[in-house]
Amino acid sequence: MDSATGYLTTTVDAVVNWARSNSLMPMPMGLACCAIEMMAFGGPKYDVGRFGSEAMRFSPRQADLMIVAGWCSYKMAHAIRRVWDQMADPKWCIAMGACASSGGMHRCYGVVQGIDNFMPVDVYIPGCPPRPEAVIHALMDIQEKIRNEYSVTNDYSSGSPHAELAQPESARLTADGRDLSLNGSGLVHA
């Protein structure tokens, strides 16, 4: 057995993941109409504070979950990617709404057909706009995913900034949001 499955690391993992998943600080990348529903998600009725994510951080340095809400134009894409790069690892991303996930109804020259063309996405929310309940569901999916991650092992092996590229298969599965999200909230390791 290597360190990835050792008793100590898995126990520390559990603690770290518990802490991380219950205090996600969203960076609301509110672009368009979905941003209004994102406000409702943080507002009084749906009150995302119940999930520990009420502290919306407009500074990327303090956030670890980016919610891209709205259609993203080519002109804006570079700004979004830069804000995403400025967020400290570990970080997650929710593509909220049809536009962020796939371009949605705006199949037009100005709009990027899905933000996953230039940044990794962990959870996609369908809907135009998704109701705040759906956003909460996505948040819970992210929490579920975090709880199943090898967080300490990842940190331990991530010496270089581009460590994901050199990681073993098992670790890459968790680092690569796409595989997991398709697989249903990271239940691969459960």
Binding site: D85, R107, Y109, Q113, G114, N117, A175
Partner: protein, 217 residues
């Protein structure tokens, strides 16, 4: 396609001048103003079209600024509401049209001017000196249709980045854009800009994080 094979699934209606439009407004009845304009600029006005109680005054390019000055200074149309271009996309000249919508707030009147422009020479005199509000509208018209406004203080693109070279509102520009004309951010630290608009489908998910590039601005 032979003429006999054409399939018109869309009914094409002709405009009936005598039909009364139920949405006609009193504010668009500007026959008096047009009479004054016609008297003052007999060569400047080429045509007047009426539909739904709205008057569209076709003016020539050379007399546009004079007519706008007269509208603003003597006739009280001091509020510019809208300015935009239209691509007629026909082979017979003129190809472009630019329309101006002015409002006289005190007399409660609304008038529309229109200028036709040739495809080879899409240049118009700017009216920003008369109406400051025309500034952004003219820039937008330049961005979308490529119509130049002479004398505009700052003819930049309004919406698209300056690095873009097409004018998207023109009819020949494809709705889905031209692949590669607008780059996406790099997908890997070493990689260049992504020119493929559907990179996710062909190359999979981008790398999660890398060192951000140095800022220059």
């Amino acid at each position: 396609m032979p003429e006999s094979l054409k399939f018109h699934f869309t009914p094409v209606d002709e405009a009936h001048a005598d039909e009364k439009n139920v949405h006609e407004k009193a504010s668009t009845d500007v026959a008096d103003t047009i009479d004054i304009l016609k008297k003052e600029f007999p060569d400047g006005i080429s045509d007047v079209v009426v539909y739904a109680g709205e008057y569209t005054v076709f003016v020539t390019r050379d007399s546009l600024v004079e007519i706008c000055t007269a509208l603003k200074e003597t006739l009280g149309f001091s509020y510019l509401v809208d300015l935009a271009g239209v691509d007629r996309f026909t082979e017979d000249a003129p190809r472009y049209e630019v329309y101006y919508c002015f409002v006289n707030i005190h007399a409660k009147k609304r008038i529309r001017l229109k200028v036709s422009l040739d495809e080879d020479d899409p240049v118009l005199p700017s009216i920003t000196r008369l109406f400051k509000a025309a500034d952004w509208n003219e820039r937008e018209c330049y961005d979308m249709l490529g119509i130049q406004f002479e004398g505009h203080p700052d003819l930049r693109r309004m919406y698209m980045p300056e690095d873009f070279e097409f004018h998207p509102q023109r009819k020949e520009f494809p709705l889905l854009g031209i692949p590669g004309s607008l780059p996406l951010p790099p997908r890997t630290p070493e990689g260049g800009l992504t020119m493929d608009p559907f990179a996710a489908a062909r190359q999979g998910s981008p790398v999660k994080s890398y060192q951000e590039p140095e800022s220059e601005f």
